[in-house]
């Protein structure tokens, strides 16, 4: 088992295996979540609210305990790692900026908290060489001018060193040494200094060599060797590293770099409450980017923004994802976001994964009726029609839509398979069978009933009564078993008679024309639209047929108003057929 798991992990970047979450109150939020995520993937988990998508994300992030199952990151088990060691950055819907800190500090926060691996550098020698480079490369007059400007200004030695470090991009150690070098000439102007340039440089050079030789002697005594970048080497000649906090200068550089990427530089001095929603979200993104981690987790980051901003931020996030080559897991309830951003989509409902696939697959080849209805805007038209075995066609109102030739055969095979499955389950009804029943209900949407029942079962009064009467524990799977039996019965009755099926068709597949243009078609229905919504380029035409509200999309070139009669053609090849009992698609 273990070895098989390991072999699998070698291929995948982030692997979630049988992830489940049971809350302390006994409610199960996520069932059996299996997913392998590749590097650089943009994975979107989408589903209606309360379907367990955020819980899944929080489990990956380590903010929520995992009830069962494993998470591997590049083959390393993550389950028991605290959140901070998981190399992930999370962006929340509420932005979660620290309200008392300025934008700069917000972005810098992860850098100030963590220790990073860095080579051990001999700062003394490094700063000597930096200072030599400074004297060599800068024009003396400009150098003295800048030096006098800063050193003649206000502030203590430390503040001066900081601004020097910033101007000449030096390390702090180096800037400190520069300040001490300039100590003798503090009172003089830049011109005066320039006149005695040779003398000053000679003096500095002398001091630098003195420092250097002292440091080298000390190092030789300790037996430490350095490479050409002044990094300390160990016995084997490899560069020694240590975990250390970043220096304020390094932090500053990184924060400015990130802020530039997100156009946040003008806002670094502001508090989060002075920013607009989009800016706050960018700060939150910046805080995630600055950590330089391989995985980004985003929990509905665009839900608090207005529609227009959401559109721009959507493309920003995708661009960002492509630029920094991170793996992103993005949670949303908005199917448009899922379709537009994802390289792969996970559709969830009531804690169950319904389908995993690329946006094209999810849209064009939905696995069951839930996915079909959830993805797509406006959503798919769904209606029930009787399948007439004799003529091999679907009867919907007055309409006869021909089915494919072997459809009856395929249908029969489908039901035989389901029958076998369900009867096997019913024979030996256990936890897994119960869960597969719950999954079936999550597809068809008959779930509310069970929730209510468990709530009643768990109530204090019921518990007390059970304890007092010492009655045997009622059958845990009673409900699941009854559902299974009912479904099985329904399926059996279908094996040898005509039956109702659920048909679905996407609004854009309906062919809508003005009535009378070309009424030769047989499969046309003629209706009056109830509402015509002009979206700009196209109309959403609402109409009723056979007591069922439907939506069609049509090009806005043809003007349509509720007074007109229209012909609607339902093309048989664009129909999706679903089994109303299990909700699965009959392919």
């Amino acid at each position: 088992m273990n070895t098989a798991g390991e072999r699998k992990e070698n291929r995948t970047f982030l692997s979630l295996q049988n992830l489940e979450k049971i809350y302390p109150n006994g409610e199960k939020a996520v069932y059996n979540f299996n997913l392998d995520i590749d590097k650089n993937e943009f994975l979107v988990i989408v589903g209606p609210s309360g379907c367990g998508k955020t819980t899944t994300l929080r489990m990956i992030a380590g903010l929520e305990d995992i009830s069962s199952g494993d998470i591997f990151l590049e083959g390393e088990l993550l389950n028991y790692k605290p959140c901070k060691d998981r190399r992930m950055a999370i962006v929340f819907q509420s932005y979660a900026l620290y309200p008392q800190m300025k934008v700069f500090d917000n972005i810098a926060f992860p850098l100030t908290i963590n220790r990073y691996e860095a080579p051990v550098v001999n700062e003394c020698l490094q700063s000597c060489s930096l200072l030599r480079a400074l004297m060599r490369e800068n024009e003396a007059s400009k150098l003295f001018e800048a030096l006098c400007g800063i050193l003649g200004g206000k502030g203590g030695a430390k503040a001066k060193a900081e601004s020097l470090a910033e101007v000449f991009s030096l390390t702090y150690e180096c800037a400190g040494r520069l300040v001490s070098l300039c100590g003798r000439y503090a009172k003089q102007s830049a011109e005066q200094l320039f006149l005695q340039k040779e003398q000053i440089f000679a003096e500095w050079e002398e001091k630098l060599s003195a420092w250097e030789s002292a440091e080298r002697a000390a190092l030789a005594q300790k037996g430490i060797r350095l490479d050409e970048k002044f990094c300390e080497l160990d016995e084997n000649g490899a560069v020694k590293t240590q975990m250390r906090r970043l220096t304020p200068y390094e932090i500053k550089v990184k924060v400015f770099e990130t802020a530039e990427k997100l156009d946040l530089t003008p806002y670094l001095d502001k508090l989060p409450k002075e920013l607009s929603g989009g800016q706050m979200q960018r700060v939150a993104l910046g805080r995630a980017i600055v950590k330089n981690v391989p995985i980004f987790l985003m929990d509905e980051p665009l839900s608090n923004l207005d529609a227009k901003l959401r559109l721009t931020m959507r493309s920003e996030i995708v661009k960002l994802h492509n630029r920094i080559h991170a793996t992103t897991i993005y949670v949303t309830h908005d199917q448009t976001e899922a379709m537009t951003m994802a390289t792969r989509i996970v559709v969830m409902s009531k804690g169950f994964v319904q389908q995993i696939g690329t946006p094209e697959v999810i849209y064009n080849d939905p696995a069951n009726i839930f996915v079909a209805r959830f993805i797509g805007s406006p959503s798919m038209n769904v209606f029930s029609a009787t399948f007439d075995r004799a003529s091999s066609s679907f009867c919907f109102g007055g309409l006869n839509i021909p089915a494919e030739k072997d459809f009856a055969q395929r249908c029969r095979e489908f039901y035989l398979k389901k029958e076998a499955e369900l009867s096997a389950l019913l024979e030996n009804f256990d936890q897994a069978a119960n869960e597969s029943m719950l999954k079936l209900l999550s597809v068809t949407g008959e779930y509310a009933e069970t929730k209510h029942r468990t709530a009643a079962k768990n109530s204090l009064w019921a518990n007390l009564k059970r304890r007092v009467s010492k009655a045997s524990e009622p059958d845990k799977y009673e409900f699941g078993r009854s559902v299974c039996a009912r479904k099985l019965e329904q399926i059996r009755s279908r094996l040898d008679s005509d039956f109702e099926l659920t048909l679905g068709i996407r609004p854009e597949c309906l062919k809508i024309r003005m009535h009378g243009e070309d009424s030769a078609e047989k499969m046309c229905i003629t209706v009056r639209p109830t509402v015509c919504e002009l979206l700009g380029g196209e109309y959403n035409v609402h109409f009723d047929y056979n007591g069922k509200g439907m939506i069609g999309q049509v090009d806005a070139k043809n003007k349509i108003s509720p007074q007109d009669e229209i012909d609607v053609l339902i093309p048989a090849e664009d129909l999706y057929v679903f089994d109303p009992i299990t909700g699965d698609r009959i392919r």
Partner: protein
């Protein structure tokens, strides 16, 4: 006459304003008169003090004197105990305030942000404990105090002094009410902020220090004010512990009781001057905390 007619809502608002102003004025007069009397009497000369009927302030400008404030510090040509009492009060109160704030912050953080076994039971116990009147604990506490003192055989002068003050300070910092204030505030901090700090790599200590505490500033101010007044005015328990001790060990509130009752020291002017002095620290703390405190009241959802 082109007088602007007020609309109905404006008229009601005006009426409400007048009524509330009158009521507030009356109430504040009732509260302020003793204070004014105290302030006035502390400046009266000995002759004025014996006047009958009494007056709020000295009757003429020439009768104003600061003699009693002088008497506050010097009595019979020697430095009096009074400044020492003041010092006792100040250091014990400051210690109580500092410890209370630290303990309350830590407890509330643990209760709100950490998960540990028995958290709910602990919380219920603490709430229940708040319902017990503090007077009930006095007798057992005193028994405990004296038996520990016997067991440790604390007899030396300084030792006893610090032992007594340890006991004066300790019960003050265990108040549940302030902790609940803090907890309410912490509850109002969005969880996402804490979660995001965690995923940024912050340990509990750094979340506490760098995120939670700076946010809690106004609630801390509120707690400082509450604890300061509470501890400064604390009378019963210090009186119990300090009775029989050296007289210069007293706190200012215990000392003030010496001016009332049968064995009053009789110096009415000095008594009033002392009261004025005793009021000053509270006044100062109020001025410092009041702005922040109003924020604190608003965010913790407690009505004063």
């Amino acid at each position: 006459m082109n007088k602007k007619r007020r609309t109905k809502s404006e008229r009601t608002r005006l009426r409400e304003k007048i009524i509330s102003f009158t009521v507030l004025f009356l109430v504040s007069v009732v509260w302020v008169i003793p204070l004014l009397y105290m302030l006035g009497t502390s400046f009266k000369s000995d002759l004025e003090l014996q006047l009958h009927p009494d007056t709020l302030f000295p009757t003429s400008w020439s009768e104003w004197t600061i003699e009693h404030y002088y008497g506050f510090i010097v009595r019979d040509g020697k430095i009096d105990n009074m400044p020492l009492w003041m010092l006792n009060s100040i250091w014990s109160t400051l210690a109580t305030v500092a410890l209370t704030v630290i303990v309350d912050l830590l407890t509330a953080y643990a209760v709100v942000f950490l998960n540990f076994k028995g958290k709910n039971v602990l919380m219920k116990f603490l709430l229940l404990w708040m319902a017990v009147p503090s007077v009930i604990g006095t007798a057992p506490s005193f028994a405990l105090y004296s038996s520990i003192r016997n067991a440790l055989s604390i007899n030396g002068n300084t030792e006893t002094y610090f032992y007594i003050y340890f006991w004066i300070i300790l019960p003050g910092i265990t108040g549940i009410f302030n902790m609940l204030l803090m907890r309410n505030f912490f509850d109002s901090i969005p969880r996402d902020i804490i979660d995001s700090a965690k995923s940024d790599g912050a340990s509990n200590m750094s979340i506490f220090r760098r995120i939670v505490c700076p946010l809690a500033k106004s609630t801390i101010m509120l707690i400082i004010l509450f604890t300061f007044t509470g501890s400064w005015n604390n009378l019963l328990w210090p009186q119990l512990l300090l009775s029989g001790g050296d007289s210069y060990w007293n706190t200012i509130t215990v000392a003030l009781t010496g001016y009332t009752g049968g064995s009053a020291w009789g110096a009415n002017g000095v008594a009033m001057a002392t009261s004025v002095f005793a009021l000053i620290p509270i006044f100062v703390v109020f001025i410092i905390t009041q702005n922040k405190m109003i924020d604190g009241l608003a965010t913790t959802g407690v009505k004063g």
